[in-house]
Symmetry: C2
Subunit: 195 residues, 2 copies
């Protein structure tokens, strides 16, 4: 056998990414073999190398895709309004965005150590750009006398850690809607940085 019926790069490519994301999130990058990914796609292991030069790059592509999507969606929002409005917008956006892609979040936060130093820097730079957006909001709020934080960088990291934490416990079938979760967290964020 060789080329299979209905095979097509435009469908197999995304399927490889989807399968890898799902399996990396469940079992971890190192614990997943190329043969497992291939089986999930319904293909032999060798075929994967039409879509990625190696396993490392597959991981990098998944992470970069996640960070690019994060920054792209963020760029279309929350540019107007005062610090308080922008902080609420950031809070709700962060929660919603992360709850919509739990697998990508899991992989992006857990598999950083499996990136080569060079690839790690690439991803870290994107993450810093995102953090800088929140820090800018906090700084503006402090300057306007609305917020009081001892250290804007630490406050940024603290808020992001708190918000990202929702992904560890939230289940769609649970008792709270995403909107309710957003509201509860926004209440805590607002108070935590309030003057």
């Amino acid at each position: 056998m060789a080329r299979t019926a209905g095979s097509h790069s435009q469908t197999t490519g995304p399927r490889v990414h989807d399968a890898a994301l799902k399996l990396f999130a469940r079992h971890g990058f190192a614990a997943v073999s190329m043969r497992q990914i291939a089986a999930e796609v319904g293909v032999q292991a060798g075929a994967l190398y039409n879509y990625t030069p190696d396993k490392q790059t597959l991981l990098l592509d998944l992470m970069r895709g996640h960070m690019d999507a994060l920054l792209a969606e963020r760029a279309q929002r929350g540019k107007h309004g005062g610090p308080l409005e922008r902080l609420e917008e950031f809070t709700r956006f962060h929660i919603r965005f992360h709850l919509e892609r739990p697998d990508a979040v899991f992989v992006s936060y857990m598999e950083l150590r499996n990136l080569s130093p060079e690839n790690f820097e690439t991803i870290e730079a994107l993450r810093r750009r995102y953090e800088d957006e929140l820090e800018g909001i906090l700084r503006d709020g402090v300057a306007a006398g609305l917020f009081a934080v001892a250290d804007s960088k630490i406050a940024t990291l603290a808020v992001i850690a708190m918000l990202t934490g929702v992904t560890t416990w939230y289940r769609p079938a649970g008792r709270l809607s995403v909107n309710e979760v957003e509201t509860i967290y926004w209440d805590m964020v607002r108070k935590a940085v309030a003057a």
Copy 2:
């Protein structure tokens, strides 16, 4: 060759745990081989099986050791005082304890998925006991009219996520002492749950 000069169970046992903890934290459970652990200890792979029945149990023991230490140290503290004092005590304890053992924290939070379902339940039960301590404090504070949180369980998870986040950025050689970090976070926690 066989038994090596100076070999002793009481020294090798802890060394196996230390080496495994260090390597699991750096590279991840699945990415570390028994031979790498053995090499770190200065021993052949087979010798490790005098100290653990298998790799899985080695991971479980590391995690359980971490959680036991957490609960044991916690049990000797913060039983007296009002909700505000107990919350401050919890906040400072959590940060200090976690910053003192970054490897154990890393492993305990990242490798949960590598535990068998049964072992996972064991660790989760210990984690819930710890979370319940914080939730108790928050509930007491709400009852006393000192705190205002929409949902005590979510507030608990949010606070713990925020506090544990310090381990991702704190470096001993950095510009802040542990005590300064504690104070900055305590300020945010206090305000976040304040009435």
